[in-house]
Amino acid sequence: MRIVVKLGVVMADRNVKSKDLAVQVGITEANLSLLKQGKVKGVRFETLEKICAVLDCEPGDILKIER
């Protein structure tokens, strides 16, 4: 069982570019890329809140559990 990051899918659905999202959320493009790939150790609530505000989605749309 692991957490899978679906941020790339949500971004594609809403046609949002990585560069624009990174600027609006306040993180670097490199960190956003690592987040999309699921290669980060954790996500701050503040970052998750900003991503959801920009993409108009729920945290559950971005983070899924794979059983």
């Binding site: 993180i27 956003l32 690592l34 150790k41 954790g42 996500v43």
Partner: protein, 227 residues
């Protein structure tokens, strides 16, 4: 799995060793602080005694420790420009300037006693596993700064003391309208091995801090991967 288990086991042993060693250093620094503070108080009391009675004090318990205090002051008769140097007599007129000067001479040693006290507090926190807490870091900062001030100030201690005594002489003359000149005695107190002990304490402290910085850098690396 075996690799992870043995890695955790060796990390645990390193932690136990670090905490044990920190506890030992806490004891050493605490003892040094108490001993030094006691010596300062005894020396000050002995100086006061010598100043009031005029009797010199010489103490040589062994070849590693030697303390010598002698009372000398200059008597300047009213209306005369010449001052006589008098040894072995009490100095009532210049008592306050001399006390202030001697207090300043002893100030670096008092700062060192404070440094050892802060070192003991720091090592005690480390022994309890509080490596990166604010209080530990505060004690460490005070330990380091006080040690630095001691090293910078101790060569000038006698000069500072004489300067303070001279300033007070001026004030006493202004108030009493009588010429006063205080000459501080050279208080010789030597403790062989003290510089080596001091260097050793700070070298061990640097080693412990380096080991803790390794741990801190791992935590910082983990935190860098939290977006």
């Amino acid at each position: 799995m075996t690799t992870i288990a043995s890695s955790n086991h060796s990390a645990g042993r390193r932690d136990i060793a670090l905490r044990g060693f920190s506890g030992l250093m806490a004891g050493v620094c605490g003892l040094a602080s108490v001993v030094l503070a006691t010596v300062i108080v005894i020396c000050f009391a002995a100086i006061m005694r010598t100043m009031t009675t005029g009797e010199p004090l010489h103490w040589d318990p062994n070849r590693n420790i030697s303390v010598s205090i002698e009372s000398t002051y200059k008597d300047c008769p009213s209306g005369s420009a010449e001052c006589k140097t008098i040894t072995g007599s009490s100095m009532p007129k210049s008592g306050v300037p001399a006390m202030m000067g001697i207090a300043l001479v002893m100030l670096p040693s008092a700062i060192l006693a404070y440094a050892f006290g802060q070192g003991a507090a720091c090592f005690f926190s480390l022994a309890r596993g509080r490596y990166l807490q604010r209080k530990t870091v505060t004690h460490l900062t005070h330990f380091a700064l006080a040690g630095l001030i001691f090293v910078l100030a101790s060569p000038f201690a006698e000069l500072l003391g004489q300067a303070a005594a001279s300033l007070m002489d001026g004030l006493v003359e202004l108030l009493t309208h009588q010429p006063v000149e205080t000459e501080l005695n050279v208080i010789k107190a030597t403790f062989k091995g003290a510089p080596g002990f001091l260097s050793g304490v700070y070298a061990v402290a640097m080693t412990i801090i380096a080991l803790i910085m390794v741990r801190a850098s791992r935590i910082a690396e983990d935190h860098a991967q939290i977006v």
